[in-house]
């Protein structure tokens, strides 16, 4: 196993939203695995922390959940984006991009030097 990063505060929600946007409805376990995969296994995700984050998103009305059957015919709770969630992904992604872009301006020259 290579070096893994912890998930930064507040980014997990965006990752979950973004994953749900691209993958469609997922259960918690599937979502956790998918986030790890997308990060190229560079993230050390404590699966347990995902659930309170999902609950928060649900309370805020960005996602909704319902019980369904998994591929292996197992009962699992599926999460999917709401309309508000889709808008929120765009907004949060744009904000995040802007933040990283600004940050990049500070970091790039240092590398050149």
């Amino acid at each position: 196993m290579g070096e893994k990063s912890d998930v930064w505060q507040g980014t997990l929600a965006l990752m979950a939203l973004r994953t749900l946007e691209s993958m469609g409805p997922l259960h918690g376990y599937g979502l956790a695995r998918r986030i790890e995969q997308i990060s190229g296994d560079r993230l050390q995700l404590n699966y347990g922390t995902l659930y309170p984050a999902l609950l928060k998103l649900e309370q805020e009305g960005f996602i909704r959940s319902r019980w369904g059957l998994s591929d292996n015919n197992r009962r699992a709770k599926y999460y999917e984006l709401t309309k508000a969630g889709q808008r929120q992904v765009k907004k949060a992604a744009a904000e995040w991009e802007q933040t990283t872009a600004i940050l990049a301006c500070f970091l790039t020259p240092a590398e050149e030097a």
Partner: protein, 881 residues
């Protein structure tokens, strides 16, 4: 993130606290399915089922932690803790109902008194003008070398209003009393005569109809705007009243409109019933009189104009007036009192009031702190146990403060009820009067905020120290039952002793004062009044002069009314008098009298003597005793020789020890023969010293006003109604107002009763607080000394000895306090001496009574902890070693 999202989440979390069990199960199932899927993946990757499941749980980061994190997110943990604390606190409070009741009641008294006084201060002092944008309104006054004057003459007002550029509008008003007649009965109402722009400057519109037209186009006929209160009180809120005529002091007025609810005019404490424009109330000549200063003046500043700018302009205008009318307005200047200045002036009395009543709350808090400390002592072990079990000290302090907060909230709620009750009582506490008095008192948002602040503040005062103290409990020593912080408690102990002594001394002073005042009141009530208060006397004040009667027509009118009254069934006596005894007008008439053959003091030729004009059967009707001679008879008519009846004091003053009947006095240039002597009657007040008084025959003293006095056999109410319609039948335009002997009595005793009630209430409050403080101190020592008591009992002390020991402590404190109080009373009661009648300020009976009461209450307060001390089981109290 947007606020509504957060709010939505908050709501869901709040709702999440309901049905927590089901949600827990739901999440457990979700987690289980997560772990199983992860395990299956692990098995598929070649792990053993047990290892796969172990890995899955590791990745999850612990099932219980996850569930806890989830639970905390689902609900509001702090709210849950708070709810826990509250439930725990309520349980504790319910377990000690006596302690809770006393603490809550104490706080309720303090908070209730503060709330009530604040409400009064707010209504009387702080509240702004009852107008739109009241901050821009300001009173104008004039300054003279003699001091400040509130009133302006109408021409001066007009000049100011016409010339000022910095004020948007200036209004003027003056207050009077008029008689409103509705159907048969008349009543006094307060009217404000106002400049036509009065309502528009205030920014107030009628709720029904309209207010006055501008000055440029005056109303063609007399119009009136009436208050919402009068509209409801007298006209049953009849909407068709607008446009109709009402009768005011013998003149018809069209009702133009009804003022909005709650608008009571500009004077605090004297609500206005109706408003009239100056144009119809004053003749032009009167309005042009620069010498009569009758009008109070208020100005509205333009938005953005400062008070300082207005002041500069008013100064110039004032100088101009002084220059133009040097004879009248010389050295007079015009000054504006801005809203901020008004408030600053109002702050001083407000602060004095609030400091006084705030001290009461402080004493209440000190008492409750004492109680809380007693409880805290008893709970030291419980607290130590909880600390030992791992409860954080901060958490513990929060728990204890929550308990205090609960006490304070209950106290505040009860206090609010108490204040509401007191405010309800307020109108009954006002002096009986024909026109309504009273502030517009209600518990509004600012009062509620004040009460909440008072409650929170009291928590800080009575709850914080015990909470800190208790949460500092040293684990080991508390569990072992040792005493801690001895030095500290000794200091507090002496301070608390001083507090107890002070409270007991003060309550003794107050109780002594109330005892004296009550005894004085009882004495006053037994004083002979010179008439029979037991009789069902009804007084009908008739004023035919107002509707243009001359004295001849009036005499005829009075005669008819008296005959009608005498003929009514249920009437024992009917008589006429010019003045009613024991009322404001009782001594309203005096005449200079010279007395032939009697040397008057300082060589004067005549002396002023108060008088009344009465009918022949007057004395018989009201129950004034005839001492010598005869009453007036029908022979004493206008054509016959003048006669007079004098009071006993008058007879003794001018003809001591001599025969009085048949002598003459000269009143108004006419010789009158004395035909009778009657006992002295109270003229204006219960406590006046008797002075010479004389009665003339009603018919020999023509007048356009008089009072019909009727003595009812029973049920004065029914008779009043019948009598009023009889009077109406004679002439329905003559104003009548009705008073009863009960009303006169109430009015006469009002001040004494108020003083007695007030001092007695303070005394009871004082003794209540003193008892609680004493209980707190004694109970505290009993807790502290429980081991010592146990040892004493083990060494053979009887329960009786323990009882005596503890009672002794309480009674010693009470006796010292009472001693101080007695000395203080002897000094303080001298201040009361002018208020006392028939009882000396050093009345031994009252002093003995109040001391006994204080000692008895102290005994009762110490009895409870003493009983507890005596029931200590020596084995148990020693076993804690």
């Amino acid at each position: 993130m947007m606020m509504p999202r957060k709010l939505r989440a908050f709501w869901i979390r709040l709702l999440g606290m309901i049905g927590a069990r089901r949600n827990d199960d739901d999440f457990a199932a979700e987690l289980e399915s997560h772990v199983e899927m992860h395990t299956e993946d692990g098995i598929r990757a070649g792990l053993s089922p047990a290892e796969a499941r172990r890995q899955a749980l590791i990745c999850l980061g612990g099932r219980e932690q996850t569930r806890q994190a989830y639970r905390e997110r689902r609900t509001l943990p702090w709210l849950e803790t708070l709810w826990q604390d509250i439930r725990f606190g309520l349980r504790i409070l319910c377990k000690n109902p006596g302690y809770t009741a006393v603490a809550v009641l104490t706080l309720a008294l303090g908070i209730g008194a503060n709330t009530a006084v604040f409400t009064v201060a707010e209504a009387a002092l702080l509240r702004s003008w009852p107008a739109k944008e009241p901050g821009r309104l300001a009173r104008l006054i004039s300054t003279t070398p003699q001091g400040e004057e509130d009133s302006f003459s109408y021409p001066d007002y007009r000049d100011l209003a016409g010339q000022s550029r910095s004020l948007q509008g200036i209004l003027a008003y003056t207050r009077r009393v008029k008689t409103l007649r509705v159907e048969a009965e008349s009543q006094a109402v307060r009217d404000d005569v106002v400049s036509p722009n009065y309502f528009s400057v205030l920014g107030i519109d009628a709720q029904l109809g309209r207010t006055f037209s501008a000055e440029s186009q005056p109303d063609s006929e007399p119009g009136v705007v009436i208050s919402d209160s009068l509209w409801h009180r007298v006209f049953n809120a009849d909407p068709s009243l607008v446009g109709k005529q009402i009768w005011l002091t013998g003149r018809g007025y069209t009702v133009l409109g009804i003022a909005p609810p709650g608008f009571r005019g500009l004077a605090r404490g004297v609500p206005t019933d109706l408003w009239l424009p100056v144009a119809t109330e004053y003749a032009n000549k009167e309005l042009a009189d620069r010498k009569s200063r009758e009008f109070e003046v208020l100005g509205r500043l333009w938005p953005g104009v400062t008070a300082a700018e207005v002041k500069v302009e008013l100064d110039t205008l004032g100088r101009r007036l002084a220059l133009a009318y040097p004879a009248i307005d010389k050295a007079r200047n015009v000054v504006l009192i801005s809203e901020r200045e008004r408030l600053r002036e109002a702050m001083v009395p407000t602060l004095i009031l609030m400091t006084g009543v705030g001290l009461v709350l402080l004493i209440c808090c000190a008492n409750v702190a004492g109680l809380v400390l007693v409880r805290a002592e008893a709970r030291r072990k419980e607290v130590a146990m909880r600390l030992a079990l791992g409860v954080g000290r901060l958490r513990l302090m929060r728990q204890l403060l929550t308990e205090s907060l609960l006490l304070a909230s209950l106290g505040a709620a009860l206090g609010l009820l108490l204040a509401a009750g007191l405010l309800r009582l307020a109108p009954a506490l006002m002096p009986p009067s024909e026109v309504e008095f009273g502030l517009d008192l209600h518990l509004d948002a600012s009062v509620l905020a004040f009460t909440a602040a008072a409650a929170l503040l009291s928590v800080l005062v009575f709850g914080l120290a015990p909470a800190i103290q208790l949460s500092k409990t040293s684990l080991v020593s508390a569990l072992k039952g040792e005493e801690t912080g001895a030095a500290r408690s000794v200091r507090r102990w002496t301070m608390r002793n001083a507090l107890v002594l002070g409270e007991i001394a003060l309550s003794l002073v107050l109780l002594t004062a109330s005892g004296l005042v009550v005894r004085s009141l009882l004495f006053s009530r037994s004083l002979p009044l010179g008439f029979d208060r037991q009789r069902q006397l009804i007084f009908f004040d008739l004023d035919p002069g107002i509707v243009g009667y001359n004295s001849e027509r009036s005499a005829n009118f009075f005669n008819q009314v008296e005959e009608k009254a005498a003929a009514l069934p249920g009437v024992r006596h009917a008589t006429m008098a010019r003045r009613v005894l024991l009322s404001d007008s009782g001594g309203g008439m005096t005449q200079r009298v010279s007395i032939p053959g009697v040397e008057l003091p300082q060589g004067q030729l005549s002396v002023p003597i108060k008088l009344d004009a009465v009918d022949g059967n007057y004395f018989r009707s009201v129950g004034t005793r005839l001492i010598a001679g005869r009453e007036f008879t029908s022979g004493d008519n206008p054509l016959a020789g003048r006669v007079v009846i004098v009071s006993q004091t008058m007879a003794e003053r001018f003809w001591p020890g001599q025969e009085v009947l048949g002598r003459q006095i000269v009143a108004d240039g006419t010789a009158c023969q004395i035909v009778g002597v009657v006992e002295d009657a109270k003229i204006n007040s219960i406590h006046e010293t008797p002075e010479p008084y004389m009665y003339f025959p009603f018919v020999q003293m023509p007048s356009e006003e008089g009072t019909l006095i009727v003595e009812a056999e029973s049920n004065p109410h029914a008779l009043t109604t019948r009598m009023l319609s009889e009077i109406q039948r004679v002439d329905r335009n003559v104003p009548v107002s009705v008073r009863t002997v009960d009303y006169l009595m109430q009015q006469a005793f009002w001040a004494d009763q108020m003083a007695a009630g007030f001092v007695a209430a303070l005394g009871l409050l004082g003794i209540f607080l003193g008892a609680i403080e004493l209980y707190g101190v004694v109970a505290f020592t009993v807790n502290r000394r429980s081991r010592e008591i146990g040892i004493r009992m083990a060494l053979g002390a009887e329960r009786r000895d323990i009882l005596r020991l503890v009672l002794g402590q309480g009674l010693t404190l009470a006796a010292i306090g009472a001693g101080i109080g007695l000395v203080a009373s002897l000094a303080a009661m001298r201040l009361l001496s002018t208020m006392l009648y028939g009882v000396r300020p050093t009345d031994p009976l009252t002093f003995a009574g109040s001391s006994t009461l204080v000692i008895l209450v102290a005994l009762a307060a110490s009895w409870i902890p003493a009983r507890r001390a005596a029931s200590i089981d020596p084995m148990q109290s020693l076993r804690t070693e």
